[in-house]
C-alpha cells in the first residue's frame, strides 16, 4: 500500500524562506490582482512583480505580442506606473496576500537608477526580495548589463552594499557563456540567480513584409525555449553555489521537475500563466504528489541530481 509521506517543500533563497519553490515570473502575473479570481494566491511560494522603474513608462509600440511555434514573442517594453505609484496603488493589494513579494526592478538609462530603487524598496518590510532585471530585451539597448560579466559584477556589488534583503539577479540567455555571467553575479554578492529571461526573436508577416510586432524584435518565451533554459540551469549549477531560480517554458509539474533535476532550487512559471492562470498552484500539488510517489522527503534530494544516460 502506498504510504503518504510528509513532504517538505520549503526552500531557502538567501535569507528568504519559501513555503514551496513555485514562484510566478516577472511580467506574467501583473501585480497579482489580475489573478485573484482564479486561485488562493497565498498557496504559491512567491510572487515576482512586473518590473518597475523609477519613472512611469508607457511601454513599446503595439502590436506587442505574437504567437510562435510552441511559444510567443513579446515586446511590452516594461510598461509600469513607476515606483511611487507602485508603492501607493499596487503594494496595498500585495500586502494582504500573505505570500512573499519579490519586486523586480530595472534602470531605463543609467545603472545608478538601480541604487535609487533598491534604497527605496529596502525600507519596505513587505518586500521580501529584490530581483535585478538586467536582462530585459525590449529596451532598445545595444548591450544589456547581463551581457557583460564585468558590468554585472559592478552593478550587483554596488546594490549589494545598499540592502540586506535577498537579492536575485535575473540573467539573459542571449550570451555566449552564461556561467561566466552567473559567476560574476555570485562573486558580487547576489543571493540567487534567476534564469532565463526571454531569447530575442523575430517574426515576419510575409504578405506585408513587415515584422509582426511593433518594435521589430521581442523576447521569445514558452515551451519552445525550455530545452535551452534547462541546459543553462544545468551549466550554471555546475559552476556556482548560490541557489538558482529556474524558468523558461514551464507548463506543468513534469517540466518543472526538469529544472529541479538540472539544479534549480526554485522555479518560476511565466507564459503558462496566460494559458492556465492557476498552473502555479497545480504545480505545487503536482510536486507534492511526485515526492510522495517517489518517497522523497525533501526537495534537496532531487536538486541537481542528474544521472548519466544508461542504455
Amino acid at each position: 500500500m502506498a504510504r503518504q509521506i510528509k513532504t517538505d517543500l520549503t526552500v531557502d533563497i538567501g535569507n528568504l524562506i519559501l513555503k514551496n519553490p513555485v514562484m510566478v515570473a516577472s511580467g506574467t502575473f501583473g501585480y497579482a490582482e489580475e489573478f485573484k479570481g482564479f486561485f488562493d494566491l497565498k498557496k504559491i511560494g512567491a510572487i515576482v512583480t512586473k518590473t518597475i522603474t523609477i519613472k512611469p513608462r508607457q511601454g513599446n509600440l503595439p502590436p506587442r505580442t505574437c504567437e510562435t511555434p510552441a511559444g510567443m514573442l513579446n515586446s511590452i517594453g516594461l510598461e509600469n506606473p513607476g515606483i511611487d505609484k507602485f508603492i501607493k496603488d499596487k503594494l496595498p493589494f500585495l500586502k494582504g496576500l500573505g505570500v512573499p513579494v519579490i519586486v523586480s526592478i530595472a534602470a531605463e538609462d543609467d545603472p545608478g537608477e538601480f541604487s535609487i530603487l533598491v534604497r527605496e524598496l529596502d525600507k519596505i518590510n513587505l518586500v521580501s526580495a529584490i530581483e535585478l532585471n538586467i536582462s530585459c530585451p525590449n529596451m532598445q539597448k545595444n548591450k544589456l548589463i547581463s551581457q557583460d560579466a564585468k558590468e554585472t559584477f559592478a552593478l550587483v556589488s554596488t546594490v549589494r552594499r545598499l540592502t540586506k534583503k535577498c537579492l536575485i539577479t535575473k540573467l539573459s540567455p542571449n550570451v555566449t557563456f552564461i556561467s561566466e555571467i552567473a559567476l560574476a553575479a555570485q562573486n558580487a554578492g547576489s543571493d540567487a540567480i534567476a534564469l532565463i529571461n526571454t531569447l530575442t526573436g523575430m517574426r515576419i508577416d510575409v504578405r506585408k513584409r513587415s515584422p509582426k510586432i511593433g518594435s521589430w524584435v521581442g523576447g521569445l518565451s514558452g515551451p519552445a525555449i525550455r530545452p535551452i533554459a534547462v541546459r543553462m540551469v544545468w551549466e550554471v549549477y555546475n559552476k556556482i553555489n548560490i541557489p538558482i531560480i529556474g524558468m523558461g517554458g514551464i507548463m506543468d509539474t513534469e517540466s518543472a521537475l526538469e529544472f529541479f533535476i538540472a539544479g534549480a532550487t526554485a522555479i518560476s512559471i511565466g507564459t503558462a500563466n496566460f494559458i492556465n492562470p492557476k498552473v502555479s498552484l497545480e504545480v505545487v500539488s503536482g510536486l507534492k504528489q511526485y515526492m510522495s510517489d517517489n518517497n522523497i522527503l525533501n526537495l534537496s534530494e532531487i536538486i541537481g541530481r542528474l544521472k548519466a544516460c544508461k542504455d
Binding site: G30, G37, I76, P223, F274
Partner: protein
C-alpha cells in the same frame, strides 16, 4: 471559490455557413454573468499548438447555454472546429467591459440606436440586440457577399429592423455597411451607434459618429496573450495613452480612440 476559469461541456459545434462556425456549451455561471460585448478566452485544445487561448465574443447567453460564433481562419480556430459535443472546453470568462447599454435599455427605451455589424462582428451584437430589444434598434449587417451574411434572422426574431449590405451587391445595399450607415443616419433621430467589425470599418464609424455628433461604442479585436489584463500585450492607442483591449475594452468609445492621422 467561484472562479472565472471553468470546464464547460460542449453541446454542439457546427458550421453555420462559409467558414463560420457556431459553438454552444453549458455554463450557468457565464450565462448569468455575461454582459453584451464581453468575451471568453477559450483554450481550443490541450496541446501547445496553438499555445495561447483564443478570445471570442459572447454571442448568446441564456439559462445555462452560452454560444460563440467564430471564423475558421488559422490553426487555432481550425483546432476549435474539431471539438466535439460532450467534450469539456476550458473557458475563462466573461471578460472585458462589454457595451454600456443598461441606461439606454432601462431609462430611455425610445432613444434610437443603431447597431452596425461587419462580417463576424455580428457575434456580440446579437446579444446586445436582445438586451436592447425594447428600444427596437436598427441593425445594419454587412458582409462581403450574400453567402457570408450572418445572423439576419436572429436580429429579425428579436424585433429589430434589419438592413443588409454586401460589398458585391449580391444582397441588399451594394457597398460598405458604413455607407449604408450614412444613408440611414441622414434620416436623423439617432443617438447611439454600437458597432463591431474589422478595424477599417470601426475607424470609419468613429469618424462618422464624430461628424454627426453621436455616441459610438466600438468593440475591438486584437491578438491577446493573457486576456485578463496582466501581460499588457494587447494595448491600443487612446487619447489617454495605451489601454488594454482585454481589460479596459474590448469596447471603447469612438471619441476615446486615437485613430486620427493613422
Amino acid at each position: 471559490m467561484e472562479t472565472l476559469q471553468i470546464k464547460a461541456k460542449i453541446i454542439s459545434n457546427k458550421k453555420l455557413k462559409s467558414n463560420y462556425w457556431h459553438l454552444i456549451f453549458n455554463s450557468e455561471f457565464i450565462a448569468r454573468n455575461a454582459k453584451a460585448g464581453q468575451f471568453l478566452d477559450i483554450r481550443v485544445n490541450h496541446t501547445d499548438k496553438p499555445l495561447l487561448r483564443r478570445p471570442l465574443s459572447i454571442h448568446s447567453a441564456k439559462g445555462i447555454k452560452v454560444s460563440v460564433i467564430y471564423e475558421v481562419i488559422g490553426p487555432g480556430t481550425q483546432a476549435l472546429s474539431l471539438r466535439a459535443p460532450g467534450e469539456l472546453l476550458d473557458v475563462i470568462g466573461p471578460l472585458g467591459n462589454g457595451f454600456e447599454y443598461l441606461r439606454i435599455a432601462k431609462k430611455s427605451p425610445r432613444q434610437r440606436v443603431v447597431l452596425v455589424a461587419g462580417g463576424i462582428g455580428v457575434a456580440p451584437l446579437v446579444l446586445l440586440a436582445e438586451k436592447l430589444k425594447l428600444s427596437k434598434p436598427l441593425v445594419l449587417v454587412g458582409a462581403t457577399t450574400k453567402r457570408k451574411l450572418l445572423c439576419e434572422k436572429e436580429f429579425k426574431n428579436l424585433g429589430c429592423s434589419v438592413k443588409i449590405s454586401t460589398d458585391d451587391g449580391s444582397l441588399g445595399f451594394k457597398g460598405r455597411v458604413t455607407d449604408l450607415l450614412k444613408v440611414n443616419l441622414a434620416q436623423g433621430g439617432f443617438s447611439n451607434i454600437f458597432a463591431c467589425g474589422p478595424e477599417p470599418m470601426l475607424k470609419s464609424i468613429a469618424r462618422i459618429a464624430d461628424e454627426e455628433n453621436l455616441n459610438s461604442q466600438l468593440s475591438l479585436e486584437t491578438h491577446m496573450a493573457c486576456g485578463i489584463g496582466a501581460c499588457l500585450g494587447c494595448v491600443i492607442t487612446t487619447k489617454s495613452g495605451y489601454r488594454r483591449v482585454c481589460k479596459d475594452g474590448p469596447v471603447f468609445s469612438g471619441k476615446e480612440l486615437n485613430w486620427q492621422g493613422r
